[in-house]
Symmetry: C2
Subunit: 259 residues, 2 copies
């Protein structure tokens, strides 16, 4: 049965890249955003299974590589944010690594782009739920993989559309950057960041930053698989949905040694 899945490499403090690069795209590779991004995805770039799909030589054939190969194999279609699609269009070239239909969530209509090796890019302008449905229809019983980036993943999670999340937790503390669930911290705080969006006009104090959770409401998950390597800890979760945080101190009073 088709599941909607997502993967994300994050630092120990929850960032998937450094602070958002706000200058010209040509400067991205030298940006702090890129420095953080390449640190948390180093295990991916080193993996043979990823390098093969990109047309790169070499790489490690190890557990991390097996996990990437498994993810590619499980995906029958992808959903992707516009930033990622725009950024990848040139470097992915004539034969992108997906080898399956990709649905890009965007506001700008565009004709479907056919590529070699089974990849196509279909531009969906009526929202993320529609993109997920269109991907599901062509996934052939395989999974719909949310390819990223972080903003799209948060939208899918917020909308309750995500069945499974695999976090790849990398043993580094970045201190600031683009955060999967929380506030983006760092450069560019003045304009257009998630923090700005979350705390600015129209948002009540106490609101979370993009998940739309009510007071004392949380999203529960069930860990279903943990694979550990020195480079990264892979934890796979089934999303169990929203529930109220009932006060439940198990008769302990208010003290706790380990907190």
């Amino acid at each position: 049965m088709t599941k909607v899945t997502a993967q994300m490499s994050v630092s120990l403090d929850g960032y998937y890249a450094g602070p958002r690069h706000t200058g010209e795209r040509s400067g991205w590779l030298q940006s702090e955003e890129a420095a953080g991004f390449f640190r948390v995805t180093r295990w991916v770039i080193d993996a043979m299974a990823w390098r093969e799909r990109q047309g790169f030589a070499g790489g490690e054939k190890d557990v991390n590589s097996d996990i990437i190969a498994e993810s590619f194999e499980a995906a029958g279609a992808y959903v992707m944010g516009r930033n990622m699609a725009d950024g990848g269009e040139v470097p992915w070239g004539d034969e992108p690594p997906f080898r399956a239909p990709v649905f890009v969530v965007t506001h700008r209509p565009r004709e479907t782009l056919m590529r070699q090796g089974g990849t196509s890019f279909t531009y969906v302008t009526d929202g993320v739920a529609s993109a997920v449905e269109q991907a599901r229809a062509v996934a052939g019983g395989k999974n719909v993989a949310i390819a990223g980036g972080g903003t799209l993943l948060r939208q899918v999670f917020q909308a309750g559309l995500l069945d499974e999340l695999e976090l790849h937790i990398v043993p580094v503390v970045l201190g600031r950057g683009m955060s999967l669930f929380g506030a983006d911290i760092g450069a560019g705080l003045g304009a257009g960041t998630d923090l700005d969006a979350g705390l600015g006009a129209g948002t009540r104090p106490g609101a979370d930053l993009g998940l739309g959770l009510a007071e004392k409401e949380a999203i529960e998950l069930i860990p279903t698989r943990v694979i550990h390597t020195p480079e990264v800890t892979h934890i796979r979760y089934t999303v169990n949905g929203r529930s109220a945080l009932v006060l439940d101190d198990r008769g302990s009073g208010s003290s706790d040694l380990l907190s």
Copy 2:
């Protein structure tokens, strides 16, 4: 050899409690801070090894309980923040669960408090490094455990005094709350929160929120043990220290499927 260690139960999005309770202490148990706190520490409160130390009956005798017992056993002395010490003084009663010397970092001088069962509270007014040194001197070769709360742990980590960090990652997304490494998100954003401290006067844009990391600087850790249970994933890290984030894209270009 004595190590400086810390433990923290956190949600999947990095919060160790709900948003900081800013009302009267008597209302804490009903606060959103407490609701989040009791969710991420549920595995602790359910554990027999913790309940025994608190004088509570029952509890689960399982892997989670063993991990708590191990932590108690490994600690020869504790360092604690003032908020935690103040909050615990009454509920911990005449025989607190530590059974070892506790050094409380505070600005208010106070005579050492002797309790039954081996616990004492010594109030240290000359800073966190001094408290760690005083604890080390009496730890008898066992570890100095940073008992909490989160603000103190961040100070110890920031000062480069922490040798080992064990995170207990609980499968829940809280969306907001008090964050171990990042910005506190939620109620009370106007005054006195970490977010306020981090983004307010005197802090340059781009600064992290309390770790004092320079641009393209990170703190590297080495995972040394992973123990997984359905309730919580325990990951122990050795802190390896600060290092520069060198650009290292392994010849990949700028695209990445899994990001």
